[in-house]
Amino acid sequence: MRDWVAWLRELDQARYEDPERVLSELEAARSRVPASHQPRYFGVYGSTHRMLAGRSQQSEPCLERAEELLRFGRWIAERRGDDSAFADLLLRSSYVLSDRGDYRQALVLAEQANALFERCQDRVGRGRALFEQGRFLFYLNRTAEAIEAYYAALRLLPTSEQSNLFSVHQGLGLCFQRQGQYQKALKHALRAEALVPSPWFEAKLYWLQAHIYRGLEKHYLAEQRLTRAADMLSALHYGEAALAAVELVQLQMLQGKTKAAGDTLRSIIGLVIPLGGNHEVAAAIVELMRDKLTLEAVETARRQIETAKECSQWHSLAVEP
């Protein structure tokens, strides 16, 4: 007899790496899933569609499908009186809302999930819900409240929750950096280093550390971290790699390292062709190379790339495995 809990847990992990395979396994098993496991089944099913949205040129249909499946899962959980699964589904639904940029409603769902997890005496669930509240509050510019939520999550998450603990420390690093409390930000950004879940997050963490060191006016350390971030990102995401590299040029120019800045700029040339799919980013780099290298021109290019990041095509610049 199949262990459905273990099967769903395994697929929930595997969806990050191979959502297509997970989706076909889920669909093949649909008619056989026992009723008591259906709410969590629809949770994983919906989240897998959300994962596909991140890889698709047209993310909206995938997000709509994810929402439909998660709503249906909640409907089943409600009928079964399964508060724990309902809370899990609320949290998953909050991620879909945050993917769409609706952080306000995402926060409401995360708060509801937290309350239900508390009722079920699920400390890990509460820790996850509080961490997500912190994330949404950060995006809503409610930094002090975000810090509060992150600290509450830290008190609840066990050491086995390595990936979530990484995100909490990274989140605290971002919050304190925004508040200009660079020493506190650095403390959390360094703690996160021992918990890094993947190369992508490692690169993002180096980038955050670079910003913090820049705030502390330790430009040499900032440059070192940013160089590592840009190197790692060049194997992961062309757009992010271009943005990190342009920031590196800026940092080198601020230190008066004009030659190094020119060398870094030339190293970005290799990104222009793969960036062809996103004209704004490619154009920003080409423009920067054509004109005289000044801090103003670098800042203009950086802003153009930042703006392109808001666009839905940004995820299509991920490097194919």
Binding site: E27, R30, S31, A35, Q38, R65, E68, L69, R71, F72, R74, W75, I76, A77, E78, R79, R80, G81, D82, D83, F86, L90, S93, R104, L107, V108, L109, E111, Q112, N114, A115, L116, E118, R119, R142, E145
Partner: protein, 99 residues
């Protein structure tokens, strides 16, 4: 009371009828701490206490809220018609009786 509370109550009324709605409203009005200092953040723990006192399932309450109150039965995803009818016909209740 803010718009959010009114919305919650309206949704609950749809599900539970006016008698229950009036009881919830009375309970909530007695508790000035329903909202925290930030107007957006709902003190859900307080709502849970109220629901518990009134013996209303929190999942049902949040479900109505999450669905905007307009669709108590959500759209059935393609290929899931069997599962939907299982619950619509109340077979899950028989399953609980069997257990």
């Amino acid at each position: 009371m803010t718009q959010r509370v009114v919305e919650l109550l309206r949704l609950q009324m749809k599900q539970a009828g006016r008698g229950t709605m009036a009881r919830i409203q009375r309970e909530l009005e007695l508790r000035s701490t329903f909202f925290s200092e930030s107007p957006d953040r709902i003190e859900v723990a307080v709502v849970l206490q109220v629901l518990e006192q009134l013996d209303i399932s929190p999942a049902a309450f949040f479900s109505a809220l999450a669905q905007g109150g307009d669709e108590l039965m959500p759209a059935v995803p393609e290929g899931c018609e069997d599962i939907a009818s299982y619950y619509q016909e109340g077979k899950h209740l028989e399953e609980a009786d069997d257990a």
